[in-house]
């Protein structure tokens, strides 16, 4: 109101306001398609998920308001408890191992006298482009009882046939190995980009001071790489919360529900048992978990050098 009346008083300001409105309109025209899809398929569904988490039922049974019932059901559901247990175990193994292995590979390949660097980089990166469906199928093929390649190799060194999918721990490890296979190349490429940015003079100075390669790694590489490590850690957390394909393809959540990831739990409740309300409550908890862990990581780990 104030702005408008002020603008009316002076022709110049009037022009300024019209220009401002016009440039806003133009900008929003550029934004319109992206905003439309964002509202319809991201923001809207996000709010609907939270709302639906307070409703019971599904497509066949219809929805009815049930307060916090879904959350109470989750609290006492043995399967949900197993899902949390599996997710924690999986995270404790996959996140440190995928980051450590990829960082080690990146440091080895960053040696300036290594030849054929691009070939090795491309080869190790390749699996991260393949569909998880294919990686899982290949892995299933290699651990297949009697004919599987891995069991054959184990037989050569006199280890009896490993039953990969019949114990909870081995089934979890199977999923971890497939995810490692896919993930290492991806993080390695990001680490390599971070390593290249570290000034060469730091290493030259350290060498003059008589620091060996291990000392250089701890005192120069790691501190200099902190922003990249933070970025990769957050990526690893976000990505691994999405674990679904390998579970769907390899274990089907088994044996005995011991490898049910959160995404799998949401999927099976929603589309197998028609418990859309319960699935939405799980989704809401997943959202809270991802948001709070990311916020804590961003707070704890400084991203500047």
């Amino acid at each position: 109101m104030n702005v408008l009346s002020a603008a009316r008083r002076s022709g110049k300001a009037h022009l300024g306001l019209r220009e401002a409105l016009l440039s806003n309109a133009v900008a929003y025209l550029f934004l319109a398609p992206a905003l439309l899809f964002f509202v319809v398929f991201q923001a809207g569904p996000l709010i609907t998920t939270i709302v639906l988490s307070f409703y019971e039922g599904g497509i066949l049974s219809g929805f009815s308001y049930s307060g916090f019932d879904n959350y109470l059901t989750l609290w006492s559901d043995r399967e949900f408890y197993q899902t949390i247990k599996f997710t924690l175990l999986y995270f404790v193994i996959i996140v440190p191992s995928v980051l450590a292995v990829s960082l080690a590979m990146a440091v080895l390949l960053n040696d300036k006298f290594i030849r054929g660097k691009n070939f090795f980089k491309a080869a190790i990166f390749f699996p991260s482009l393949a569909p998880m469906v294919t990686l899982s199928t290949l892995w299933l093929f290699m651990i297949f009882p009697n004919v599987g390649l891995i069991n054959m190799l184990l037989a050569v060194v006199n280890v009896r046939e490993v039953e990969w999918l019949s114990s909870p721990l081995m089934a979890t490890l199977t999923i971890v190995l497939v995810e490692l296979w896919r993930g290492v190349g991806f993080y390695m490429v990001i680490f390599l980009a971070g390593l290249v940015a570290i000034p060469e003079e730091l290493y030259e100075a350290a060498e003059l001071d008589g620091a060996g390669p291990i000392r250089q790694f701890w005192s120069i590489t790691l501190p200099q790489l902190r922003p990249t490590i933070t970025f990769c850690l957050i990526m690893a957390v976000i990505f691994n919360f999405q674990l679904f394909d390998a579970v769907y393809m390899i274990t089907g959540g088994g044996p005995g529900g011991s490898t049910e990831s959160i995404a799998w739990y949401i999927f099976s409740n929603a589309f197998k048992y028609d418990q859309l309300g319960l699935a939405s409550a799980t989704s809401t908890l997943l959202l809270l978990a991802v948001m709070s862990i990311t916020a804590v990581l961003l707070k704890v780990l400084p991203s500047d050098r």
Partner: protein
């Protein structure tokens, strides 16, 4: 030996020593590279042999009797041709629509002034963290209500809302010198003409990054296509392969490996010809 060649040899000795001292690194990365790539070679080798022979040595990678019998069965007994066509249509359409939408939005964020700019951008960035599984239920209900479940559009439309491309486009467009646009503005060009004629050609590599990463994401996605497509003829390649029962004890490995080979062909081609684009796509997020 002339003195000239002797000095040449001496000068090269440290380089040779350096290479020898790196031998453990070479051995290590070679072993890793072989381990990582071996299963793909094994896949191809199994796809190309008579599937009645189930037992073979892991070293026997080149089949003595190369045959396309598995591919022949794949295309006649399963809907693989449909699946490939569906995936191709979905991935290509999404990539083309998305590069248009994201470059428009990226231009607004990089160059235009408007209300709530920071807030909207922050919301888009935050949305990148949300796992797709979180919104899967409402997305399904919405698309079912408008009758798009079991159509390719159920896979195409939701993907257009993922904000990574907007972010990439903004990054690329922010590097273009302002002077270029100022000059065009003085010549009386409209904002859209500047975007279309000046900015887009300059960010062509970034456009390629968005097209390729979108295509790849749609090609490999599984969770959402499994939910949205149940009709066999409308499945994508990944859903099709996942329905081929590789976990069963009587799995038809020759057929399954032929199907996976088909799924890998576009990826292999993109990998060979456009490798630098997805490497930049990934690393541009990590470096400010």
């Amino acid at each position: 030996m002339t003195s000239a060649s002797r000095t040449l040899l001496l000068r090269h000795r440290p380089a040779l020593n350096r290479q020898v001292s790196r031998l453990p690194i070479y051995i290590g990365v070679t072993i890793i590279a072989v381990l990582v790539l071996y299963p793909f070679v094994f896949m191809l080798s199994t796809a190309l042999r008579e599937s009645t022979i189930l037992r073979f040595s892991p070293w026997d990678l080149v089949p003595s009797d190369v045959t396309l019998a598995n591919f022949h069965r794949l295309f006649s007994d399963t809907s693989m041709l449909n699946w490939l066509g569906n995936s191709m249509f979905v991935a290509t359409t999404t990539a083309l629509l998305k590069v248009g939408i994201d470059s428009l939005a990226g231009y607004a964020f990089a160059r235009l002034q408007f209300k709530f700019k920071e807030l909207i951008f922050l919301l888009l960035i935050a949305a990148m963290m949300v796992p797709p599984a979180v919104t899967i239920v409402p997305r399904f209900l919405l698309l079912r209500d408008i009758g798009l479940i079991n159509t390719p559009w159920a896979l195409i439309l939701p993907h257009l809302s993922y904000p990574l491309g907007v972010f990439l486009m903004r990054q690329a467009m922010a590097t273009i010198p302002y002077e270029l646009e100022e000059a065009a503005k003085l010549d009386g060009c409209s904002v859209f003409t500047i975007y279309w004629r000046i900015v887009l050609p300059l960010v062509a590599p970034a456009l390629a990054v968005v097209v390729i990463t979108t295509f790849m994401y749609q090609w490999v996605d599984l969770l959402w296509p499994v939910v949205a497509i149940t009709n066999d003829g409308l499945k994508t390649v990944t859903v099709g392969i996942s329905s081929m029962k590789a976990e069963q004890s009587r799995a038809d490995w020759g057929l399954i490996m032929a199907a996976n080979t088909c799924a890998m062909i576009p990826i292999g081609m993109l990998f060979v010809f456009c490798q630098r684009y997805f490497m930049t796509g990934m690393t541009s997020g990590s470096l400010k």
